[in-house]
Amino acid sequence: MENVDKPSAAARRQFIADTARMACGVGLLGLGIGLYARHAQALPPAAIRPPGALPEKDFSAACIRCGMCVRDCPYNILHLAKPEEPMSTGTPYFVARQLPCEMCEDIPCVKACPTGALDHSLKDINKSKMGLAVLVDHETCLNFLGLRCDICYRVCPVIDKAITLDPQTNARTGKHTLFIPVVHSEHCTGCGKCEKACPTEVAAIKVFPLYMAKGQLSSHYRLGWVEKEKAGGSLVAPDVEHQYNLPEGMKYESGKGLSGSPGAVPPAPTPDAVALPKAFQGGKL
C-alpha cells in the first residue's frame, strides 16, 4: 500500500507544482500583455482612424492588422501603428496634418477591409465620422484676428455645411466684422483637410477622435426654443413682459438707451405691470 501510494503521490505533487508554475509564469506574461492592450485603447489625439472605423473598443477586437486598407488607399495616407507607437500595434491610422483623407467616393479602404473593422455599411463618404474638427486656438486663428483667411472654410469638402463663417462684431476695431469659422459636427467627416491647410505654424483647427472632440448634453435637457416650435407656441402663456431693474428715476428703452436721472421720483408702478403673486407684492395680504 505504502509502496504503491508513494510514487503516485510524488507524481501528483510534481504535476500540481508544474501546473502552478506554468499558470503563474504564463499568467504573469498575460497580465502584462492585457494591461498593455488596455492602455493602447486610449487612441492618441493625432491618430485618426480610416473612414467607417468601429468605435475604438470594437475596432481593437475586429481589426486583424492586415494592412489591406493601407494598400488600397489611392493617396497612401494610412499607416500601420508600429510597436513603439502608443496605440494597438499594427492598426491603421492617418495623421491629418501630414496627409488628410481625400474622401474617395467609392471608399476603397472600407471595401478592402476583410473583417468589417471598417464598417461595410458606410456607403456615402460624406456620412463618415473619422473624427471631428475643432477650432482649438482662438488666439492664433487668423479669422479670429480679423483677417479673411477662410482657408479651412474653403478647403472643406462639405463646404458651408461642416464649416460656416459666422459674422461677429470686431470689438477691437469697433467697425469691422470677424468671420468666425464654426464647425458643425452633424456634417464634419473628420477628413482633416482643414487641419492640413491651416497656414499657421501649428494648426489652429485640428481634427480629434470623436470621443475627445464632442460633448454631449444630459438626456433630460430640453431647448426652450425647440420645444416652443414643436408645440407651435409658447409653453408658458402668456409670455411675461420683460422688466428692467434700474436705479430709481432711470428708464431704458430699446434703441434709445438710458434716460432720466438717478434720484428723481419714479412713476408709481402700476399693479398690473408686475405680474407677481399677491404674496410677493409686500404686506397687503
Binding site: 508544474d18 506554468m22 499558470a23 509564469g25 504564463v26 499568467g27 506574461l29 498575460g30 500583455i33 492585457g34 498593455y36 492592450a37 488596455r38 493602447a40 485603447q41 473598443k57 470594437d58 481593437s60 477586437a61 475586429a62 481589426c63 486583424i64 492588422r65 492586415c66 494592412g67 489591406m68 493601407v70 494598400r71 488600397d72 499607416h79 500601420l80 508600429k82 510597436p83 513603439e84 507607437e85 494597438s88 500595434t89 499594427g90 477591409c113 476583410p114 473583417t115 468589417g116 473593422a117 461595410h120
Partner: protein
C-alpha cells in the same frame, strides 16, 4: 562510422552527404528555404516594384484579387473578442485550415513563417559556437501560451496578443515599416541563441501551438518506410526542431506505426535529408505501403 567521412564527422548529415551527395542530403532544406524566401518575395515585390501579386500580410492576404487567405488563429481571437468578421476573412480562414489539414499543421512554421528563418539561424549559430547549456521550460508551455492568448482576447475584448506577437510583427514590419519591432525580433533571436535551444518555436510560440492542433488531424506525414534500416546514428534527432516526435515512430513505441503522428512535427523534411539509410519519406497518414519490420507487416494508422 565510415572511414570515407570528411573532416567533421560529428556534424549531422555528414554520413548522408557521403552516401547520397550534397543535393539529396539538402533537398528538403533547399525547397523549404525557397518556400520561406519565395513567400516573402511575393509579398515584397508589391511595395518594392508595385507588382501586386499579393496584398496584406500573414494575418490576411489577398492574392491576385481572387484568393483570400486569413490566419485562423487571429480570426479565432477576434471571435473570442466578440467581433464577427466579414465573409471574406471567414472564407480565407477556412481555406487556410483546409490547406494545413492537407499539408500538416505546423508546415506553417517550417515552410511559411518568417521567424523560422531567424530561429533556425540562431540554432545553426548555437551549434557552430558550441553553446551547450539551455534553460529548461517544458514544450507544452506553448499550449499554456495559446490558452493565455485566447483567454486574453475574451477577457479584454481585444486581439491583445497581436500587440506583441513577434511573428506578425516581423511579417508586417517587412512590408509596412518595422519600427522598433526589430528589437523584439532580436530578443527572440538572442533568446534562442544564448538562453534556450529551440526556445521560441519549440517551446513558447502560441501560433505554432495553434497550428499543431490542426496538425493532429492533417494528412501529410513523415513516414518511415525503412525504419528497420535505422543504424542509430542519431542524425535525425540532432537536426529535428522537435526531436521528441521521432522516437515513438522510429522505435515503434507502444505499437506506433512507422509514421510520425505527433502534432508538433513541422514536416520540414530535414530528417529525410540527413538520413543516409533513407528511413524517412513524405507520405500520407493513409499510407499502407511500408516495408515490414522484423518480418511483421505494419498496419496503417486508424
Amino acid at each position: 562510422m565510415s572511414a570515407t567521412l570528411p573532416t567533421t564527422p560529428t556534424r549531422p548529415g555528414t554520413e548522408a552527404f557521403a552516401a547520397k551527395g550534397w543535393l539529396a542530403a539538402h533537398k528538403w532544406l533547399v525547397l523549404r528555404r525557397s518556400s520561406q524566401v519565395g513567400i516573402l518575395l511575393l509579398f515584397l515585390v508589391g511595395p518594392w516594384f508595385g507588382w501586386w501579386v499579393v496584398k496584406g500580410n500573414l494575418n490576411f492576404s489577398y492574392t491576385l484579387n481572387v484568393l483570400p487567405l486569413a490566419d485562423p488563429y487571429v480570426i479565432l481571437q477576434s471571435l473570442l473578442a466578440r467581433q464577427v468578421p466579414e465573409k471574406l476573412a471567414l472564407i480565407g480562414a477556412a481555406i487556410v485550415v483546409l490547406f494545413y489539414l492537407l499539408v500538416g499543421g505546423r508546415a506553417y512554421c517550417s515552410w511559411v513563417c518568417p521567424v523560422n528563418l531567424l530561429t533556425d539561424l540562431a540554432y545553426w549559430l548555437r551549434v557552430r559556437m558550441g553553446l551547450k547549456g539551455s534553460a529548461h521550460i517544458s514544450r507544452p508551455t506553448r499550449y499554456w501560451m495559446l490558452g493565455m492568448t485566447l483567454l486574453l482576447a475574451a477577457a479584454t475584448g481585444t486581439i491583445a496578443w497581436e500587440m506583441v506577437n513577434p511573428v506578425s510583427m516581423l511579417h508586417r514590419g517587412l512590408f509596412f515599416g518595422i519600427g522598433f519591432a526589430w528589437a523584439v525580433l532580436l530578443a527572440v533571436f538572442l533568446f534562442d541563441l544564448f538562453v534556450m535551444r529551440h526556445g521560441w518555436c519549440g517551446h513558447l510560440c502560441p501560433v505554432g501551438a495553434f497550428y499543431s492542433l490542426i496538425g493532429r488531424f492533417s494528412v501529410a506525414r513523415i513516414t518511415l518506410p525503412a525504419r528497420a534500416a535505422c543504424n542509430d546514428c542519431m542524425d535525425c534527432f540532432a537536426v529535428c526542431p522537435e526531436p521528441q516526435v521521432i522516437r515513438p515512430a522510429l522505435k515503434a513505441i507502444g505499437g506506433t506505426p512507422p509514421m510520425i503522428l505527433e502534432a508538433n512535427c513541422t514536416n520540414c523534411g530535414r530528417c529525410i535529408d540527413v538520413c543516409s539509410k533513407d528511413v524517412f519519406a513524405f507520405g500520407t497518414r493513409f499510407n499502407t505501403t511500408v516495408a515490414p519490420m522484423n518480418g511483421v507487416p505494419q498496419a496503417a494508422p486508424k
